[in-house]
Amino acid sequence: MKNSQLYKGSLTTIIMKLLEENGRMYGYEITQKVKGITAGALNITEGALYPALHKLEADGHLAVEVEKVDNRLRKYYKLTETGEKETVNRLAELEGFIKNMQALVGSSNLKLGY
């Protein structure tokens, strides 16, 4: 994943949004989906993805289904009922954040310089 706190802070929301749209997904599928949507600009690494998925599962936001696919076990994640509610809250929060940032960055009073 891009080494940016902005992306890291939004990772769980990205995962939950994808699961909301796709029903259930497995780890590798999530990384590929994100890569595809962002045209390769955002690459989620294993070190970021799995801890986020496991934390969401431990918090009760995700449920797990294990299936045998192509001679190996595959773990699918899907949103639980609380996970669905949490997704709505997090997306609203993220939208508010983006709106505020756009207002700030677009404001003529704010000059960003390094």
Binding site: E46, G47, Y50, P51, H54, V64
Partner: protein, 203 residues
């Protein structure tokens, strides 16, 4: 390329010998690696080597975080069981039983027998852990954390500190035995429930 059963086994063994010992994380990582390799063309071993060169550090980092979460999960499940109505009834019954028992036979007289029983139990627990390690049985994270907590509790309280000797002759001795027996029962029940969950999920 489509991976063969032998190649999948190779990935699993590689992860196992790289320190990813628990089945519940290893199979997920193995599937991730296999899915990535299946999108590549070329020699399996060359592609695997190339993949691990880039991603191994990330996988090990993910494993470390998973272990921390497994410990947290084990203690949360233990606590959830310890505050259930049956557990509270058990702790009260155990205390009353031991308190009544103390009127007829001083608990201090049983100290050496309890010590011996605890040592045998400790050896059995450690033996089962080593048996699984030696014979490469599938080990799961939360049950492993519960078993190690169980062994540590037994070893520290009954073998190293000898709390029974410190509390001999006081009212705290039956309280101590009550809590020890209670903790062991709750640990065993939680471990059993977790084992069943794993069997349902992975078998």
């Amino acid at each position: 390329m489509k991976l063969t059963a032998h190649q999948l086994k190779f990935i699993d063994n590689y992860l196992k010998y790289s320190g990813i010992e628990f089945m519940d994380i290893r199979y997920e990582m193995a599937d991730h690696i296999a899915s990535a390799l299946e999108e590549r063309d070329g020699d399996f071993y060359d592609e695997f080597k190339d993949y691990m060169r880039i991603h191994k550090a990330e996988l090990l980092q993910s494993n470390r975080k998973f272990l921390r979460l497994a410990t947290e999960k084990a203690y949360n499940r233990l606590f959830a069981n310890a505050v259930k109505p049956w557990a509270i009834a058990l702790v009260i019954s155990l205390f009353l039983l031991l308190f009544l028992f103390k009127q007829y036979i001083p608990l201090e007289n049983l100290s050496e027998d309890i010590q011996l029983a605890a040592t045998v139990l400790f050896i059995a627990v450690i033996g089962s852990v080593f048996h699984k390690r030696l014979f490469r049985g599938n080990r799961f994270s939360v049950t492993a954390k519960l078993t190690s907590s169980f062994a540590l509790l037994l070893y520290v309280c009954l073998v190293v500190i000898r709390v029974d000797k410190l509390l001999a002759g006081t009212i705290l001795l039956p309280v101590y035995y009550t809590l020890m027996i209670f903790m062991m029962i709750v640990l065993m029940i939680t471990n059993y429930q977790q084992e069943r969950l794993y069997k349902l999920k992975y078998n």
